[in-house]
Symmetry: none
Subunit: 130 residues, 4 copies
DNA sequence: GTGGTCTAGACCACC
DNA sequence: GTGGTCTAGACCACA
C-alpha cells in the first residue's frame, strides 16, 4: 500500500494518513473494502500502534474511513471523491507555495515547469494520458 | 527584506534563514554588505533576538555570512553562488517530492505543469498575453 | 561519559559536542545506541536543557547523531568514522597552530616534542620504564 | 613585526599582545627599544586604535612595556625574561590541554609526537639547533 | 554598539 | 516519555 520513511521530516502518522488517502484517490482501495486493523497496519509498516491509531482517528474524522462495530474499519462510500479532492487541493496548495518560494529567490516559474517536463519525459511515459 | 508568517508551520528561525538566502540569491544583498544586526532584525520582524541569532548561526555555518567580532555580520564573498545553488536545489527537491506525492495520488504531472502555467499567466501577462 | 569544566573558556555546549564526539571516537558509544536524552544529559552534567539541545543540534547537523521523533537520539552508523576523523583533524590542526605559535616566540619544536615525551613517560610507565 | 588574522577566533587585541610578546621573546625587539605608538600600530596592522590601546594596557600591566611620559612606549628591561617565560608557559599549558584532548578521543600521544617530528623535518631544518 | 552564551520557563508535536 | 521552538532576560567579551 505504501511505505514509511522514518528519516523523513513529515510525521509518521501523517505519512499514514497521506498514504491511505492516496491509495483511495488513485483507486487502489475501493469503497466498502476493509483496511488493515490498527495492529495489522502497525505490524505492516513497523510503527507504534498508537501512531496508527492517531492516523485512523484523523481519517475517520474526515469521513474517509468508517468503523463498523466489531467488524473493523472500512473505506467510506464517498471516500474516493473526498480523497481525490483532498489530495488535489493539498498538492496544488503546496505547489503555489513552492512557486512563491522560487520567485522570492529569483527563480522563474518557467524553471519549475521545465523541471516537471523533464521528470515526465525521463521517468515514465505511461503516466501521460492526455 | 522579507516578512515573517507567524501562522506558518515552518519555524520562524527557518523563515529568517530562507529569507536571507533568497534575498542574496536574487541579488538584493551583495557580498561585503552588512546584514541587519541581531537586535535590529529582531525589532524589524518582531521576534526575539535569540531566534534571529539562531538563524544567523545557521547562515554562518553554511558560509553565507561571516561575523566580524564587535562589528557585525557581513555577506560572504561566495554567498551569492552558495545561495543560488542552495535555493535552486531546495526548490527542485521539494518539487520532485511534490511530483511523487501527486503521482501516488493518481494526479498526473501534467496537472502540475498546467497549474504552473496558469500561475504564470495570471501573475505577469507580459509573457503570455490573454 | 565526560565532565564539564565550568571554569574553562570553551563554551559548555562545545564541551558537550567534543565530549560526545570523543566518546564515539574512542569507542565508548557505538552506532545505533541511544545517547542520553536532552533532559537526562542536562541533569547529568548540571546544565540547562537548552544548552544540551544546542550541542545535540550541532551533532545532528554534522551527521554524528540522528533524531527519531518522540523516541530520542541515536548514534548514526558512520559516526565512529566521522568522529575519529574529526577529532584527529581538530587535534592536529591545533597542534600545528601551537607549533607556529611556539616558533614565533623562538621556542623550537624540539621543546614541544620533549614535553610530549615527558608527559607520556609520567602518565603510563609501561611504555617507557624510568 | 606580526600580522593580524581577522578571521581567527582569537581576539584581535590578544593577537597584538601575543605578537609583541613573541617578538620580544625571540629577540626581535630589545629592551629600551621604542614600540610603535597606539596610532602607529593601529595603522600598521589595520585595526581600531581602541583595540591597540587595550593590548598595550595589558602589556604595560604585565610589565612588558613601559610608558615614558611624552616620549612613547618602550620595551622594559626585564621584558625578554618575562616574555620568554610567559610564552613558554602558555605554549606548554596549551600542549598539555591538547594531549588530554587527544587521549580523550583515543589518540595516543605518540601520534602528536610523530606529527611534530614531521613538521620539523619537512618545514625548516634551520630551526633544529640541538 | 556588536554577537555569543547561558538560564529559566513555557508550549507544542510526536511516539 | 521524547525533541523542537520560542520568549525573556541576564552576563560577557570584543571593537
Amino acid at each position: 500500500m505504501f511505505r514509511i520513511d522514518a528519516n523523513s521530516d513529515v510525521p509518521v502518522f501523517q505519512q499514514i494518513v497521506d498514504g491511505v488517502k492516496s491509495a483511495i484517490a488513485r483507486g487502489a482501495c475501493r469503497p466498502g473494502e476493509a483496511i488493515p486493523s490498527v495492529r495489522g497496519m502497525a505490524a505492516e509498516v513497523l510503527v507504534n500502534p498508537n501512531t496508527v491509531a492517531k492516523a485512523y482517528r484523523d481519517l475517520e474524522r474526515e469521513g474517509v474511513i468508517q468503523t463498523q462495530r466489531g467488524k473493523g474499519l472500512f473505506v467510506s462510500p464517498d471516500a474516493p471523491e473526498l480523497c481525490r479532492e483532498d489530495r488535489r487541493n493539498t498538492v496544488l496548495r503546496k505547489l503555489n507555495a513552492l512557486i512563491a518560494e522560487a520567485q522570492a529567490a529569483g527563480i522563474p516559474a518557467s524553471e519549475l515547469a521545465k523541471a516537471i517536463g523533464e521528470e515526465r519525459a525521463s521517468d515514465h511515459e505511461q503516466t501521460e494520458p492526455e
